[in-house]
Amino acid sequence: MKKLFRKNDLIVIAVILAAALVLLIPNLSKKQSLTATVYADGEIVKIINLDEVKESYTFSPKDGTEICVENGAIYFTSAVCRDKLCVKSGKLYKNGQTAACLPERIVISISSGENSPDMLTY
């Protein structure tokens, strides 16, 4: 007569739960392109795909403020503010990171392309 429960049953359960977890992985690490959005005075002035940057370059969203763009990262290099917290924020390279020069109202924000729409309607 078969028993109700055997040790092998635990193996079965473990395998299935492991499979369930494995299936969750694609949901978490979808390949996305790193995008940096630069705002000045609340308006977007530049959207940069950091993965596609071939050569580093700098630009000035406002006089006195300089931002450097390289492959996979973006950061303030100089600013006219007093405390230079923006420059001190260092390189931004991950989803969700932000750096801001508050007195100048300049913000750099990183987002992954996951949320970019397939198509725009206008």
């Binding site: 078969k2 028993k3 079965v12 299935i16 369930a20």
Partner: protein, 177 residues
């Protein structure tokens, strides 16, 4: 000899008939359970699988598949073509697993393990069918983890129920399992 065979055949037909009706009744009761949010509609606990598992172990493989077929047809008549395919695929996989596991002499798995495997097979069959029908393979990632988890729970229940009622059912078929 002939009398015995005839009586056996009659018994078998009666058994399959009763079991089939029971399976349909359980199927129908399950559809009354409101669809759980987050689960694909049509993914039900699968209590009717207790019937197919019983037939797989105590009667013939053919009988078990016959009831599976009836369940699928019933689903088709009452809930539509999609439901028939889902029930058919899930049932076929689950019954096949039940046949293999319950008819083997080895005792490596308990009823709970077997119940879980059958439930998992049932859900996998349904999931694959849903993907093919809707043309969206992404359903696997979307519903897969949830259905597997669900199957562990329902398999646990059906396996336990089967073990509990097996001594009584065994008497119907004169088989000690």
């Amino acid at each position: 000899m002939i009398m015995k065979e005839k009586r056996n055949i009659t018994r078998r037909v009666a058994l399959v008939g009763v079991m089939g009706a029971l399976a349909l009744a359980l199927s129908y009761l399950e559809t009354l359970i409101p669809a759980f949010p987050g689960f694909p509609p049509g993914a039900k606990p699968g209590f009717s699988n207790i019937v197919t598992m019983f037939l797989a172990s105590c009667s013939g493989v053919g009988d078990a598949f016959f009831v599976t077929l009836i369940k699928a047809l019933f689903a088709g008549i009452t809930r539509g073509f999609t439901a028939m395919l889902m029930s058919g695929a899930g049932g076929a996989l689950s019954t096949a697993a039940a046949c293999i596991l319950l008819r083997s002499r080895k005792n490596s798995l308990g009823y709970i393990g077997i119940g879980i495997i059958c439930a998992v097979c049932h859900n996998i069959g349904q999931l694959i069918t849903a993907c093919l029908i809707s043309g969206t393979p992404s359903l696997i990632w979307g519903y897969g983890p949830l259905l597997l988890l669900f199957a562990v729970i329902t398999g646990f229940i059906t396996g336990t129920v089967l073990k509990v009622i097996m001594p009584y059912l065994g008497r119907i078929t004169d088989i000690k399992k």
